[in-house]
C-alpha cells in the first residue's frame, strides 16, 4: 500500500508557485515544467480564444484541484 502511495502522482494546486490560486503552479509541478511556461500558454490561449474559455477553465480547475 505504501509503495502504491509513493508511485502515485497527484495533481494539486501549488502553495509555493502561485499567482492567483496555484493552478498553473500545480500543473507545472505535476508535469515537471516551469510554471511560467504554463502560465504563458494559458494566458495566450485565453486571450486568443476570446477570454471566456480560459477563465472558466481556470475557475473549474480552482474548484476541482485540492490544495497541497
Amino acid at each position: 500500500m505504501k509503495q502504491v502511495m509513493l508511485m502515485e502522482k497527484r495533481l494539486y494546486r501549488s502553495k509555493k508557485e502561485r499567482m492567483i490560486a496555484g493552478v498553473c503552479g500545480g500543473l507545472g509541478e505535476y508535469f515537471k515544467v516551469d510554471p511560467t511556461l504554463i502560465r504563458l500558454l494559458w494566458v495566450v490561449v485565453t486571450v486568443f480564444t476570446g477570454f471566456i474559455l480560459g477563465i472558466i477553465a481556470y475557475i473549474i480547475a480552482w474548484i476541482i484541484m485540492p490544495e497541497r
Binding site: K2, L40, V44, V45, F48
Partner: protein, 150 residues
C-alpha cells in the same frame, strides 16, 4: 516515507527544472527576449528579430510581449546591471557553434514566415487554435509516455 520526506524529494526534483526568467543583463525593454534567449542558449538578436516579426501579424508580438513581461519573473540569480560589450562578445562567440539553437531559430522563423504568408492569403486565424491545442495534447501524451519509459 512520511509527508515531509516526500516534500523534500519533491522540492529537490523541482529545482532541477530549467526556468524561464526575464534577463536582468540582456535587456532592451524588460528583458523578455534576452530571457528567452538565455533559456534556449541562443543569441538574443534572434529572439528580438522574431518578436519584431510577430508585431506585423496583427500586433500579436506586442500583446505577447506584454503578457510575457507580466508573467515572467526577473532572474533572481543575476545581479542588476547591463553586460559590458566585452562580455557580450564573449557570450556570442560561445554560442556560434551551437547547432541545436540554430535549428530552433530556423524552425521559429519558418513558422513566423508561414503565419505571415497565411495572413496575406486571408487565412482566418481563429482556425489556428484547434490545431495548436491538438499539437499540445499530443506533446503532453508523448512526454508522459517517455517519462514512464525512464
Amino acid at each position: 516515507m512520511d509527508y515531509h520526506a516526500r516534500e523534500v524529494i519533491f522540492m529537490a526534483k523541482n529545482s532541477e527544472i530549467k526556468r524561464l526568467y526575464r534577463s536582468r543583463k540582456d535587456k532592451i525593454i524588460a528583458g523578455v527576449c534576452g530571457g528567452i534567449a538565455e533559456y534556449f542558449n541562443i543569441d538574443p538578436v534572434w529572439t528580438r528579430l522574431i518578436a519584431v516579426l510577430l508585431c506585423f501579424i496583427n500586433g500579436i508580438g506586442i500583446i505577447l510581449y506584454i503578457i510575457a513581461w507580466i508573467l515572467m519573473p526577473e532572474n533572481p540569480k543575476q545581479k542588476p546591471g547591463k553586460m559590458t560589450t566585452a562580455e557580450k562578445a564573449a557570450k556570442r562567440a560561445v554560442k556560434k557553434n551551437d547547432m541545436n539553437s540554430m535549428v530552433i531559430i530556423g524552425i521559429v522563423i519558418a513558422v513566423v514566415g508561414i503565419l505571415l504568408l497565411l495572413k496575406n492569403l486571408g487565412f482566418e486565424f481563429s482556425l489556428l487554435w484547434p490545431f495548436l491545442l491538438i499539437a499540445l495534447g499530443i506533446f503532453i501524451i508523448v512526454r508522459q509516455k517517455n517519462e514512464k519509459r525512464k
